[in-house]
Amino acid sequence: MALEEIVGPVMVGPSSSHTAGAVRLGNLARLCWGGDVTDVDIYLRCSFAATFWGHGTDRALLAGLMGFSPSDEALKDSFRIAAERGVRYRFHGEKVDGAHPNSVRFVIREGERTMEVVGASLGGGAVELQEVDGFVLRATGELPTMVTFHRDEPGVIAAVTAILAEAGINVGSMNVHRQGRGKGAAMVLELDGLPPEQVVERIKGCHSAIRRLMLIPAGGEEVR
């Protein structure tokens, strides 16, 4: 572990897994959604459902959805801030066989659009994005991570990785998932550096099958 991870992170207490990790899960769900969250159902699972009240897990998840960082003391007041911003939220408990002990499912809505995001807090503030709209992803955010959502078509992987290669960005790991041949697909790339804005724009437009691109900064960094 790096020195500043031993002496750190800087966070709002009381728990790295149930508070700081929960903020980060909210941050991840917000990144997946791609903008301000105005209406959300939050389903707490296992230990999150059992102990959320003692660790501010509920306030932390909501603060994360609104884009607060794990070190922002305002997260304590997230219920009030959500009310001021007109964010509608409802908390529920749910039992899911085989779910991670500290996991949560978000269902975000706006008009006709909905998105479902599942994530888990792994301990020490580290988190894992597990599912987006039913796609099993398993992105930890330990390295900067890029996720593409696209239609399963030949050439998407090559087009994306070619641009990364040209930009000199090394790929540490890569996972590709699809719902079926020619259907929705997702690619999770763990990178040795977050691509700059113009590279991101090029990747978005590099193949007609790409619908959306999501960037997750590495663990300790602020969510942008």
């Binding site: 572990m1 790096a2 002496v7 009381p14 508070t19 003391e73």
Partner: protein
């Protein structure tokens, strides 16, 4: 950093903080200035975590006011444990209560043990006025001790019990103090080893799963262990078992602990009739999920 031995080896040609930074630089491919800069940021955050709870005393559900009470007693009657230990204990408990009350803290090495290093460094600073540069070096030394423990054992209470959280924090604090007082690198690591063997096997048994009882108390009392073990090392006393082996023993002991004593709130103080009663009471006050 995988061993105290490897750091000591590097210390043959470099002072301790520089040896640590040069190893970090090699392991991570990051310039040492960047690493030192991030640690300076941590040091300043620690100071503000102490200032915040001194200006606005926090309260948790079960804790609050302990640090203030000890400080008032020290000022009015004098503390038998002395100004350094009593002041450090007071600060450590205040910061730990702040953590329970959702204040901003520096996990060091964890949120549950976040009071110990700021308490010890804060009290030492008030009494001795070291430069920020010296404090930064001491924090880097403390970080290296935590890094070796993370590598050879664990820093998670759920895995290794409280010895891995408050115990590790006290070992880090002892190292920082021994460094600040001019101890050589061997004395620094032995002060940590003396702490770890003194608290070996300490269980994690929080009442109702809250980071409050006994966590806040242990943040406070562990500073005494850190100060005393620093004195022992400065007096030339060495751990019979080398520091790396002490950490390995701590790891085995942590693994041998039953799960009831590793942050599950099923054993120790949490399982006492009073602990259970408090847990039931709090649960009845908690909001319901549908």
């Amino acid at each position: 950093m995988r061993s105290f031995e490897s750091i000591l080896e590097r210390c043959r040609s470099l002072p301790l903080p520089e040896a640590i930074l040069s190893m970090e630089e090699e392991e991570r491919g990051l310039p040492r200035d960047v690493i030192a800069g991030r640690m300076l940021d941590r040091l300043r955050e620690m100071k503000s975590s102490v200032l915040s709870v001194e200006q606005r005393p926090p309260r948790g559900r079960l804790v609050g006011g302990e640090g203030e009470a000890l400080e008032a007693y020290r000022r009015s009657q004098g503390a038998l444990s002395g100004d350094l230990v009593a002041t450090a204990c007071s600060m450590a408990m205040k910061v730990a209560v702040g953590n329970a009350a959702m204040r901003r803290i520096v996990a060091c090495p964890t949120a549950g043990s976040c009071g110990i290093v700021p308490g010890v460094l804060g009290a030492y600073s008030r009494l001795n006025d070291p430069s920020e540069e010296e404090l930064l070096k001491a924090l880097i030394v403390a970080g290296a001790v935590g890094s070796v423990i993370a590598q050879r054992a664990t820093l998670a209470g759920a895995e290794g019990g409280c010895q891995a959280e408050c115990g590790a924090a006290a070992a880090m604090a002892a190292a920082a103090l021994t460094y600040l007082r001019g101890g050589d690198p061997e004395a620094v690591f032995h002060s940590s080893a003396l702490v770890l063997q003194s608290i070996m096997g300490l269980v994690c048994d929080p009442i109702a799963g809250l980071v409050e009882v006994p966590c806040v108390l242990r943040n406070g009392t562990m500073v005494g262990m850190a100060v005393l073990c620093s004195d022992l090392a400065m007096a030339g006393i060495r751990s019979t078992v080398p520091p790396d082996e002490v950490v390995d023993a701590m790891d085995s002991v942590g693994r041998a602990l039953p799960s009831a004593l590793r942050e599950t709130s099923e054993g120790g103080l949490a399982a006492t009739p009073t602990g259970q009663r408090i847990a039931r009471q709090l649960l009845s006050e908690a909001p319901r999920l549908d």
